[in-house]
């Protein structure tokens, strides 16, 4: 039995549709990330699961029973908010135990549960302090503690790391992953940060304008994005998208890049397509490298910008009117202004229909 099942969920305010039909299933122990830009509906979806909002139509089942119309406190969920939402006049201990207090859990039991959670989160020393005396990271732990102590069926996180600075965010990410591995909790996590999504999720739901564009494991989302939107959203620097025409040369499926005479080899399932078809060719920066002299299917591009980030060299170049970004080894000898030959890894290329944006897979047209 799945921990969470959502079917046909819609949510509208008057004439504005926020959620346009959401279906998903979550198994026990999964870490689902709802990923998308502001306004895509991810927080609305989370609030519907929590019961803070009621959907216009559709069903939500937690632990096998429908929770439509059920009060949040009876849904067996716990929530961690972006702003932590700690009760300012209560100390940390009482903040964590508040949900238990409201459910009239006996004092001794409460204290024990709080102590356990504080131990796990390493905030035992802070139990008697007030939120105003804590740092951002500490407050976030307390907020997580408040959710942990309830031992719910599902944890809901609403952009919990957005208010932290970059360094703290990276630390807390590791912390969250550790907790998830330790507790095997079922989690629904909302964020707009694709790095959080990629590192934390067991599955990602990429959302846009009230719909789920793709629901899959992070590797799948990254390697086989379902459409141009997903391809562009995940991965930084973004995937290069080049208009091209499919063709066959000497038995090798190729793509002729628009605006140039360049031709690249394409492999894999994308090979089974009618020649002459217009496509949008997707190539991630790391799938482009400098050509060895004399290598076949090399394309010439005018290097505009070279950025050394430390672990890699990012090269921005102009190719037939299009701009591409390549991710090269940091020791590569490239400078701005020169024209160099690049090679695209055939197995890493992905094809998309230029009109619909949908990925082209074998057998389908």
């Amino acid at each position: 039995m799945s921990d969470l099942v959502i079917s046909g969920l819609t949510k509208a305010y008057g004439h504005t549709e926020i959620l346009k039909g959401i279906d998903l299933e979550l198994q026990h122990g999964e870490f689902l990330v709802l990923l998308g830009p502001s306004g895509c509906g991810k927080s609305t979806l989370l609030n519907c699961i929590a019961g803070l909002l009621e959907p216009s139509a559709g069903d939500i089942r937690i632990g096998g029973r429908s929770v439509i119309g059920v009060h949040p406190k009876d849904r067996d969920i716990a929530m961690v908010f972006q702003s932590y939402a700690l009760y300012p006049n209560l100390d940390v201990e009482r903040n964590i135990g508040f949900g238990l207090e409201m459910r009239r859990v006996p004092k001794a039991e409460r204290a024990a549960a709080i102590a356990r959670v504080a131990e796990t989160l390493q905030i035992t020393a802070l139990l008697k302090r007030r939120p105003a005396q804590l740092s951002g990271g500490q407050r976030q732990r307390v907020a997580i503690g408040r959710a942990l102590v309830r031992n719910p069926a599902i944890f809901l996180f609403d952009e919990p790391l957005s208010n932290l600075d970059a360094k703290l965010r990276a630390e807390m990410r590791v912390e969250l992953k550790r907790l998830h591995d330790l507790l095997g909790a079922t989690i629904v996590y909302v964020t707009h940060d694709q790095i959080e999504a990629m590192t934390l999720a067991s599955r990602i739901a990429v959302m846009r304008e009230g719909r789920i564009e793709q629901l899959a494991q992070p590797e799948t989302i990254y390697r086989d994005p379902a459409n141009l939107y997903v391809a562009g959203f995940v991965g930084s620097p973004a995937m290069n998208i080049l208009p091209a025409t499919l063709s066959v040369e000497n038995g090798q499926p190729v793509a002729r890049l628009a605006g140039t005479s360049a031709v690249v080899a394409i492999g894999g399932s994308a090979a089974v397509q009618p020649a002459g078809r217009q496509v949008a060719l997707g190539a991630r920066p790391e799938s482009i490298r400098l050509a060895v002299p004399g290598e076949p299917f090399a394309v010439a591009a005018a290097v505009e910008l070279v950025e050394l980030t430390g672990p890699e060299k990012l090269v921005v170049a102009k190719l037939g009117g299009q701009t591409i970004t390549a991710r090269l080894d940091p020791n590569s000898r490239v400078t701005g202004g020169e024209t160099r030959q690049f090679v695209f890894d055939p197995q890493a290329l992905r094809l998309f229909d230029p009109a619909t944006g949908v990925a082209i897979v074998s057998g389908a047209s």
């Binding site: 019961g51 803070l52 909002l53 009621e54 009060h71 949040p72």
Partner: protein, 281 residues
């Protein structure tokens, strides 16, 4: 929870109606009294809605005829306007520089507490010396004399509200202007005051309401038409042996119009100014 149980919704609407009725009814009754005929008001059982409308009191109070109620009323209206107006202007003239100084220079901040401390004094404490003082200066029963006394009531909290307003104007703007070579008075006139204009307006209107409302000093220090304010005039009407309650109600309605209009227009700003000043300590 987004949706509310029906019982709670019903409770909310019932409570809202009760509150609305409680707030409005006395007002509405005041207005009704002012346009009800005298027989309507003195009949038993009381007529809640007038059988005959009588607008004559409005006419009566608003026309100037020798020795009429209208003359007394209009001159008291004039006096109230003059006294409050002068006091507010004086409060602003004194308060703006003082508030600016306290806002920008923490070290003189404690002086404001002297001003605020005067709030603890009941008016009676100063009444006798003020009476004697005004008498000695020949300013008894004089709008200027009364305005001067009102100044001390209005100036302190006006300065308090103005200070909050100036606190909201970033010092960096003034520093930039100073570096550009502007004098202090130029900075105040062209930059700070325009930027703090909403707060200044709120403070001025609030002060006007308080001045308009004052009764005690007006009672003590005025005796006839030359300086008697609206509040004293109405108290006279109410305490006198007048049988036409409608007239009293009419005077009340007319006297209430300016502060009520100010209040409704400024409602949000007024409450914000009060809570802000309070929270900041």
């Amino acid at each position: 929870m987004e949706h509310r149980p029906l019982a709670q919704t019903v409770l909310v609407y019932v409570a809202a109606i009760v509150l609305a009725v409680a707030i409005l009814m006395p007002f509405v009754w005041l207005v009704i009294m002012s346009i009800s005929s005298a027989p309507d008001l003195s009949s038993l059982p009381l007529h809640w809605l007038p059988t005959t409308f009588d607008f004559s009191r409005y006419v009566k109070l608003l026309t100037i005829a020798e020795h009429s109620a209208g003359e007394a009323f209009l001159s008291s209206l004039r006096n109230s306007l003059e006294v409050s107006g002068m006091a507010v202007i004086g409060a602003l003239v004194l308060g703006i520089p003082a508030a600016w100084a306290v806002s920008r220079h923490r070290e003189v901040g404690w002086s404001i507490y002297i001003a605020i401390g005067s709030y603890m004094l009941p008016a009676v404490a100063l009444a006798v010396p003020l009476y004697k003082g005004l008498h000695a200066l020949g300013l008894l029963n004089n709008v200027v004399g009364l305005a001067g006394v009102y100044l001390t009531i209005l100036a302190p909290f006006t300065a308090w509200l103005l200070k909050s307003g100036f606190d909201g104007v970033p010092r960096e703007i003034e520093s930039a202007a100073m570096i550009d070579g502007a004098r202090l008075d130029q900075i105040l006139r062209r930059l700070t005051l325009p930027l703090a204009a909403p707060a200044v307006t709120t403070a001025a209107l609030f002060a006007l309401m308080v001045g308009w409302d004052e009764f005690f000093y007006a009672l003590l220090f005025t005796s006839d038409d030359r300086a008697k304010t609206l509040t004293v005039a109405i108290a006279d009407l109410a305490g006198g042996r007048i049988t036409d309650y409608g007239l009293i109600a009419t005077a009340g309605v007319l006297a209430s119009l300016p502060p009520v209009i100010i209040g409704v227009v400024l409602q949000r700003a007024l409450v914000a100014g009060l809570t802000q000043g309070g929270v900041k300590g």
